[in-house]
């Protein structure tokens, strides 16, 4: 072997920033090969995938609309992941947020008040946090694995929404179809840009990112999260309570997902339906890792993932590419990122002994 892999004395900070870019470049290069193989002009395909969806103001606004719930969920999840608390149930917490927030409208649908929407958002956060509190309780009290509990609660949440939509919360004027009333003006997210679907939820996402950055970088609880995740024994040595951090990170993640849920139903969806999310809570896990669990990274990762969805649709419409192209792209980005991540802790060196090593 000409090259060998050598551990770095300490993790390379430069590589932490470079590897996502390297992964992107490798994905672009590799996908050009895929497109050629499919018989499509690779440059045209890339253009349709990355540029065309956002080449006008409307497209850019759609990108933000799609990225908003991803970023909200991912920022909440990232805090937990840093502390080794594996919340896989953001999809369920998002659903409960929609239920709680949307439920307020269902019962107060005649009310025309400026406090209705803020109340819905607050309730959405509470609903999501409550749902995440269940795995937190089970973990701190019974040491139940939060991956399993939070994931299984996703199905419970979906069925709960279905129960409500088909039953007591069904729109009386809806011909018995399972949907709630359309949300009124005072229950709808205000638009930021007329003529687009860009709504206040995006502002909430930005606030969430900034707040999380502040918390992680500057507060004691943020420090505790990082230490407990990196070296739990050091955390206990420092007197940091693992149980408190488990509760905090799960409630925080749940609240963020809950806000994402209520933002979606009071924004682009406009009502409660049996299916209000195409899996944002799960995709957000990818976004969180793609963004290196760092608030700024998550913004870029959320935008990138959203772009792959939009690009996939554009590629289907304009070039007749198959729907699988979206999944292939996302898979490649993740794959190359994981591969390039090796370079953070290791580097290549020439094997100078001249012999085959290993």
């Amino acid at each position: 072997m000409l090259l060998k892999i050598v551990k770095r004395p300490e993790p390379s900070r430069a590589m932490v920033y470079l590897t996502p870019l390297m992964a992107l470049v490798l994905t672009v290069v590799c996908s050009m090969g895929v497109f050629t193989f499919l018989g499509v002009d690779p440059v045209e395909a890339l253009r349709n995938f990355f540029i065309v969806p956002i080449n006008n103001a409307y497209g850019a606004s759609e990108l933000l609309v799609k990225a908003t719930p991803l970023i909200l969920c991912a920022i909440g999840l990232s805090v937990g992941f840093r502390a080794n608390v594996w919340n896989i149930g953001a999809e369920g917490q998002l659903t409960l947020g929609a239920i709680f927030g949307g439920g307020l409208f269902v019962y107060l649908h005649d009310v025309d008040s400026v406090f209705l929407l803020p109340g819905m958002i607050l309730l959405g956060a509470i609903g999501g946090a409550l749902w995440a509190g269940i795995p937190a309780f089970l973990k701190t009290r019974f040491n139940a694995n939060e991956i399993l509990t939070s994931l299984m609660l996703v199905y419970v949440a979906t069925l709960l929404l279905s129960l409500l939509i088909h039953g007591p919360w069904r729109d009386p004027d809806g011909f018995n179809f399972p949907e709630s009333r359309m949300f009124s003006e005072s229950a709808t997210m205000p638009l930021i840009l007329e003529g687009t679907r860009l709504h206040f939820g995006t502002i909430l996402a930005i606030i969430a990112v900034l707040g999380t950055w502040l918390m992680l970088a500057k507060t004691l609880v943020g420090f505790q999260i990082k230490v407990i995740g990196a070296a739990p024994k050091a955390g206990s040595y420092a007197g940091f309570s693992q149980k408190k951090i488990i509760w905090f990170t799960l409630l925080f993640g749940g609240a963020m997902a809950g806000i994402a849920g209520v933002s979606e139903v009071s924004g682009p969806v406009g009502q409660l339906l049996p299916s209000i999310s195409p899996g944002y809570g799960f995709t957000a896990i990818i976004v969180a890792f793609l963004g290196r669990l760092h608030p700024v990274g998550i913004i870029f990762a959320g935008l990138l993932m959203a772009l792959t969805y939009l690009g996939g649709e554009t590629a289907q419409i304009n070039l007749g590419l198959p729907v699988a192209v979206t999944g292939v792209f996302q898979g490649m980005v993740l794959f190359f990122l994981l591969a390039c991540d090796v370079l953070i802790s290791y580097r290549f060196a020439l094997n100078r002994t001249g012999r085959v090593s290993g």
Partner: protein
């Protein structure tokens, strides 16, 4: 011999400066929850201000459990088992114990005493933020933390490229000096140090020993737990042996020899007088 280091055997002055009892461990018993843990059984000892108390023992005889219960990572069944200047502290957590002026250097420097991938500044903050007031207005004061880290590096001669580098980038000896320095510069009333120079080069070991002696001379109560008898005999005023979760009666260092301590550590009976063996209780 290492080039460039000044190796002096740390000398330890004895007795006259010892103050009142700082730490009293009274009838401490604790059942271990670990599968291969050692139960602690009626442990009794004192540490006075100005003295270095050494606890010798072969690893695996209850040191880990004892250290955990002293640092607060494990709580006592009753608060009165541990008394700091008369105040029961057995139920206090590590943060509360630090507020009372207790400092700890744990056995494992990487992963327990420090977070390997965090900077020295962050690692300085880790255990000292309360005592050194590194939090202002609810936010971490990064500048003050950096200054503290740099003070540690300067005073304890830690060889590093800078306090922004990670703990894992330091050699064993330098990291140990850093952690010891971090704890000592908090001006503790009582400091508990586990295996102070395990895996540490001779120059750093000498520096650490001198720092321990100096700290005691300035009035702190020091408890050292170690396997290294030479070390304990060099720096301690008094010494006891831990074996199978029980502690021997502590003795003045001048009244006992290394060989006798070694035999107690081995758990043999019948060497010396019967009293000797029965006093491991």
């Amino acid at each position: 011999m290492m080039i460039g280091t000044n190796l002096t055997t740390p000398r330890h002055d004895d007795g006259s400066k010892r103050g009142p009892v700082r730490l009293k461990v009274h009838n401490l018993s604790l059942d271990s929850h670990e599968q291969f843990g050692i139960d602690l059984n009626l442990i009794n000892f004192d540490v006075r201000g100005g003295e270095v108390m050494g606890i010798a023992g072969v690893a695996g005889n209850g040191q880990v459990e004892l250290l955990e219960v002293l640092s607060g990572e494990m709580l006592c069944d009753e608060a009165e088992h541990l008394l700091l200047e008369g105040t029961p502290i057995g139920k206090l957590n590590p943060t509360e114990r630090r507020e009372l002026g207790i400092a700890f250097v744990p056995e494992d420097r990487l992963g327990h005493g420090s977070v390997p991938d965090m900077s020295l500044t962050d690692n300085a903050f880790l255990s000292s933020y309360g005592q050194k007031k590194l939090i202002s207005n609810g936010l971490i004061n990064h500048k003050k933390s950096t200054q503290y880290a740099e003070e540690i590096v300067a005073k304890f001669d830690v060889r590093t490229a800078g306090v922004t580098h990670t703990a894992s980038s330091l050699s064993g000896g330098n990291l140990q000096k850093f952690i010891v320095g971090r704890e000592m510069l908090q001006d503790p009333k009582l400091i508990i140090i586990a295996h102070p120079t395990w895996g540490v080069d001779a120059g750093a070991a000498a520096a650490i020993h001198q720092a321990i002696i100096d700290l005691a001379e300035n009035g702190a109560a020091v408890l050292v737990v170690s396997q290294d008898l030479d070390e304990l005999f060099a720096i301690s005023n008094r010494i006891a042996v831990i074996a199978e979760g029980r502690l021997s009666v502590s003795r003045d260092i001048k009244e006992i020899s290394i060989e006798q301590i070694g035999l107690l550590m081995g758990g043999t009976e019948g060497s010396g007088s019967q009293k000797e063996a029965q006093s491991v209780a």
